[in-house]
Amino acid sequence: MLVGISLETKQINSVKPIECAEEMSEYLSIIARDRCKRSFSKIFSYFAPRLRSYALKQMGNEALAMELVQDTMSNVWQKSHLFNSEKGSPSTWIFTIARNIRFDMLRKQRNRKEDVCSDDLWPILCEQTPDANEVSLDHQVTMDEIGVLFESLPEKQKLVVEAIYIDGKSQQEVANELDIPLGTVKSRTRLALQRLKEMLKDND
């Protein structure tokens, strides 16, 4: 399959990377310069099987592991000119490539269902403006305005809304405290919300 390329697996395996860093750096620069397949095969023979063990541990699946190995080694082949021996060893460089590809694969694997829309994350404060020039900022409802509108509610409604939405009490608790029927608490709440809604509309 690979005519003219011998894979000197055994010879390279017996050398520790600390000792062979220089040799590997040299291969990388030859690959960058000459696209030398023979040099690449030496790098490949050493790193690919070892990457597989990292990949297997990370991906937990043979097919995905081999995909990670292939993507990593492809990057080494295509980007060898970016390797700088002054910044680190070939091992560290290749490990970092593998790590980055691992993150890419992790992203693609993720179930989209987990995503939460940012509109949900900043639910209350966000005023949608598809184009900043379209909507005058003066027309946007700010919290201060809400505060002002709230202040203008009839005293009885304000009391109920405040107890429920600011103090966090239940409708029943409010009914007990104010000694009024639960139904009255509900209707005052409903009326207050309607009134606020009307005021916001008029404000627009």
Partner: protein
């Protein structure tokens, strides 16, 4: 000066490729801005690489699967180095340009328009694709986010300027993770305000005053 860094286990997980993609993005952006963590990551990765690639036991000879892979790879063209993708290195708000760390630059093209929130607070949503959503938040001088806590976690990186939140003061490059044990009130008194990049995985939960009142009325805002 940067005082808030990712903790060591998170830095390790990031270096190994073991953390959530959203966390990886945040740490990566922090590392762009923080020489100390950059150095730590280089060392951690060098150690991991040494451990991985220094296996005493020799690996079995390559089988046909590897030969096939090798030949596929060497058939690939060398990457076209001539035309690197031109990307924006900064984002703009109101005529002000903010230079971004390298990791965030590739997301500028997926950043939406700025919207004004309450008071002096601005938000631009960022679509991170498979990772999810993030936001750039900008606080003008005197701007504040209503006091809130988090049902999930909130990761924040200060991209420009300074802000405080009643717990501490944060400077450019600072990275924080907040969860439901933190109740805070972010505000900026910096003359040029403060730009942060933030990812939250659950809605904020407003805890005080008039902001709480807003919760049940959300539908009124989307008439």
């Amino acid at each position: 000066m940067i005082s808030f860094h990712p903790n060591f286990p998170d830095l390790q997980a990031f270096s190994a490729g073991n953390c959530e993609p959203a966390m990886a993005l945040m740490i990566s952006a922090h590392v762009d801005m923080c020489p100390q963590c950059q150095q730590d990551c280089i060392e951690i990765q060098a150690e991991m690489a040494d451990e991985l690639f220094t296996q005493r036991s020799s690996t079995p000879p390559l089988d046909s699967q590897y030969y096939a892979m090798l030949s596929k790879i060497t058939d690939l063209p060398v990457s076209n180095t001539t035309a690197p993708e031109v990307i924006n290195t900064s984002i703009e708000l109101d005529g002000k340009f903010f230079e971004l760390p390298r990791t965030l630059r590739r997301h500028v093209k997926n950043t939406g328009n700025w919207s004004r929130l309450v008071g002096k607070l601005w938000q631009a949503p960022v679509d991170l694709g498979d990772i999810g959503k993030a936001n750039f938040m900008y606080m003008e001088k005197g701007g504040r986010v209503p006091e809130h806590t988090h049902k999930g976690t909130e990761m924040t990186l200060v991209v420009d300027g300074q802000y405080g939140d009643g717990i501490a003061k944060y400077d450019c490059g600072d990275f924080t993770i907040m969860n439901n044990t933190h109740n805070h009130l972010p505000h900026s008194e910096a003359d040029d305000g403060c730009l942060v990049f933030t990812i939250v995985d659950q809605p904020l939960h407003f805890t005080a005053g008039i902001a709480r009142l807003l919760n049940p009325f959300s539908h009124l805002f989307f008439k």
